[in-house]
């Protein structure tokens, strides 16, 4: 992708992709698959499973999962529930996977009860819209006073948010009005690439042009560079009263509240093994194999399938896994060209320390993480300050999978902390 020059006095910069003309940018509409799988992260309520096998569902219908719990799924197709199983995702996160067999054309659920104020509607129906992070609405204990609307993408080679922002500007204005009704917003910021600045300015919202190289578009970096706020835990921005929403999410919100139907399609950037990107619109829950088949992308033995972009995405082990409401990109990496990780020691060259945007002492951190000393890593070596951009692993001379060690470390640290809290409570 980016070649290191022969004389490397300066570091190469990783640039984001640019779409020149949104009017002619093609979005491929994919046909419906034969079955969809919807995932719900299992919460703490172990009540009886509510959906019944064979139960008929309509498109946009809300499916409650556990008795007594508040978690729900929105069915994205019309059909019957075929299977409910457990699914384990990255870093041991547990999901319930509900597979629905598609039975033909969509019958939209017109019986959605959209009465009630905007906030209640948001909590009850809209927390898992495409482009919306569930914590935005569900964490209603902390009010949001600053809203960041991302018209830019977080990862390299991905153009999902830009396409959503570039092609549906009017809905963005509407969506932000609705959001102002839901939250007591004091500040709203619309982050756009320079190419979109003109059309975005027509919305009347305060615009911020974001140029720069990776990882300047990550939320923590935006907070640092644009707003001057420094967050110490990159995973929990919501607690500071800052809401983050993708442009696609704003569009989905606006169209949901206008039409009374919950959006069930997701815009995805599909990147093939030669780094060519295609923007597609697919039903949430479509298996990855269906998308690749529709686009004619061949996946061979040894290739890597990534949900997300090349820097921050997760590799998945099967093509039967389905896309979710937060899948912005799909990538196929050629098996012959993947850089292999090794279990070499850190040679203390310092490239990672120079690459880290959060100034984490990565060389020391990875030594502690390799040896399982997670608490010390978090307390003394700034494990939680990591913004999860993946640059350290990208530049590592010894090819240590630093990013994976960090994600594992954070997961284990959270587990240790939760266990302590549970035992203290």
């Amino acid at each position: 992708m980016v070649k290191k020059p022969f004389f490397s006095l300066a570091r190469p910069k990783l640039k984001y992709p640019v779409i020149d003309d949104f009017a002619v940018h093609k979005i491929v509409d994919l046909p419906l698959p034969s079955k969809v799988t919807l995932y719900l992260e299992t919460g703490k309520s172990p009540g009886r499973l509510l959906p019944a096998l064979g139960e008929h569902v309509k498109t946009g219908q809300k499916i409650m999962i556990h008795e007594g719990g508040g978690e729900y799924l929105i069915s994205t197709v019309t059909g019957s529930i075929k299977e409910i199983s457990d699914f384990t995702g990255t870093n041991g996160s547990e999901y319930k996977a509900v597979t629905i067999e598609v039975s033909g054309k969509d019958q939209f659920d017109e019986g959605l009860d959209f009465t009630g104020g905007l906030s209640e509607k948001a909590l009850e129906f809209l927390s898992i819209l495409p482009g919306v992070d569930p914590s935005l609405f569900i964490r209603d204990d902390i009010a949001v006073d600053t809203l960041l609307v991302f018209g830019i993408d977080r990862d390299l080679l991905v153009t999902t948010n830009q396409v959503a922002a570039g092609t549906q500007i009017e809905l963005i204005s509407k969506g932000i009005e609705y959001l102002k009704g839901i939250f007591p917003l004091k500040k709203t910021l619309f982050l756009v690439p320079p190419e979109l600045a003109d059309s975005a300015a027509e919305t009347g919202i305060r615009i911020e042009e974001v140029k720069g190289a990776y990882p300047d578009t990550l939320p923590v970096m935006i907070l640092k560079d644009v707003l001057g706020i420094k967050i110490s835990n990159a995973r929990d921005i919501r607690s500071s009263g800052i809401g983050v929403i993708n442009a696609e999410g704003v569009v989905a919100l606006a169209s949901a509240l206008d039409s009374g139907r919950i959006p069930v399609d997701k815009i995805i950037t599909v990147i093939d093994r030669d780094n060519r990107a295609t923007t597609v619109k697919a039903r949430i829950g479509t298996p990855i194999s269906h998308i690749f088949q529709a686009l004619g992308i061949e996946v061979r033995y040894g290739d890597r399938i990534v949900m997300g972009g090349p820097m921050m995405g997760n590799a998945v082990y099967s093509e039967d896994i389905a896309i979710r409401h937060d899948t912005d990109a799909l990538m196929v990496q050629d098996g012959g060209r993947i850089a292999w990780n090794s279990d070499s020691h850190c040679i203390n060259c310092g490239e990672c320390v120079r690459a880290c945007p959060a100034k984490v002492p990565v060389n020391m951190l990875v030594r502690l993480l390799e040896n399982g000393l997670y608490e010390e890593a978090a307390n003394d070596y700034d494990l939680l300050s990591c913004i999860e951009c993946g640059l350290c692993t990208y530049v590592c001379v010894a090819k240590i999978p630093i990013f994976h060690y960090i994600m594992l470390g954070k997961h284990e640290y959270a587990r240790i902390n939760n266990a302590e809290e549970l035992s203290n409570a």
Binding site: K4, F6, F7, S8, L9, V220, K224, K230, I231, S232, N233, A234, S344, H345, C346, I347, N348, C349, G350, V353, P357, A358, K359, V360, P361, N363, D382, S385, I387, A398
Partner: protein
């Protein structure tokens, strides 16, 4: 290793076949010791990564051309096994392995690295006294016997690879440009040497030699570009790198002018290696931690 070649080839050219013998034996001994230890410690064989060969090459570059074979054997044993492998291999060594070996040899056999003795059978057309030895014992006028241009071009007595100043500088710049070595350490090392030698020279110019003389004699250049910036024993952050290099430079001149050894590079770099973890703690705070501009 490519960067070290100009200096080594000149050295072999100058000193002849014995030098080639020492270099070749050193490289192969180093690799053999590493292979042996890998098998004994039941770890994957790592001689393929070239690190053992590099250590052997650097070690031979510091030695006189007539080094006896058993010294090479013991020296490479010290370098590879004591200096590197007992700490865990590449990246885990707190000291520069080559320097560990040279230090052990210097302290164990006093005369082994006296270049005047070792090269007594050679007959060159330049002044054959070891420059730093001459200056130490005879004062600064002895330095006048060496021309600066001559020193740069290798018309001096020393280790196989450590005499050809121009070759070392070219190799060092190549390493920096390619990104294998950060510029901060060589530059600060040479600056430390230059400034300290200047200060001493200004205090008493009869006794202490000129700064440029110090830069081009002894192990200075090879230490600056090849030995001091060794990855695992040198710091990683910006300011610590400068402190490390400057500290080694200052201490080297102190040893040369005031200490017992004619060339202090070996021990001072080892001293700074010891101080390395502490110096490396001088680093900026991570995002979100610590108080800003308290």
């Amino acid at each position: 290793m490519l960067a070290a070649l100009p200096a080594v080839i000149f050295g072999i050219f100058q000193y002849g076949i014995p030098a080639l013998a020492v270099v070749a034996f050193s490289v192969s001994c180093a690799m053999l010791w590493e292979l042996l230890m890998n098998l004994v410690m039941k770890r994957p064989v790592t001689i393929g990564d070239g690190n053992a060969a590099l250590i052997g090459l650097l070690f031979s570059m510091l030695m006189p051309a007539t080094l006896p074979w058993w010294v090479v054997l013991i020296g490479t044993f010290a370098a590879i096994i004591i200096g590197k492998l007992i700490y865990g291999g590449v990246g885990c060594n707190p000291f520069n392995p080559t320097l560990v070996a040279v230090a052990i040899l210097l302290l164990s056999w006093k005369g082994i690295l006296r270049f005047d003795e070792a090269l007594v059978n050679y007959d060159f057309d330049f002044y054959m006294l070891f420059p730093l030895g001459a200056v130490k014992h005879f004062g600064a006028e002895a330095a006048a016997d060496y021309s600066l241009a001559g020193l740069i071009m290798g018309r001096q007595v020393g280790g196989i690879g450590s005499t050809f100043g121009l070759g070392l500088i070219v190799g060092g710049i190549y390493l920096i440009l390619r990104g294998h070595v950060r510029w901060e350490i060589p530059v600060s090392f040479l600056a430390g040497i230059f400034v300290t030698a200047l200060v001493f020279n200004m205090i008493d110019s009869a006794k202490y030699a000129q700064p440029l003389f110090h830069i081009f004699t002894g192990y200075t250049l090879i230490g600056a570009f090849f030995l001091a910036p060794e990855d695992s024993s040198s710091p990683v952050n910006f300011i610590p790198m400068l402190i490390y290099g400057a500290g080694a430079g200052i201490l080297t001149i102190l040893v040369r002018n005031l200490g017992a050894f004619t060339d202090g590079v070996v021990f001072t770099i080892l001293l700074m290696n010891v101080a390395n973890p502490l110096i490396d703690k001088i680093r900026p705070k991570a995002l979100g931690r610590g108080v800003e501009h308290a």
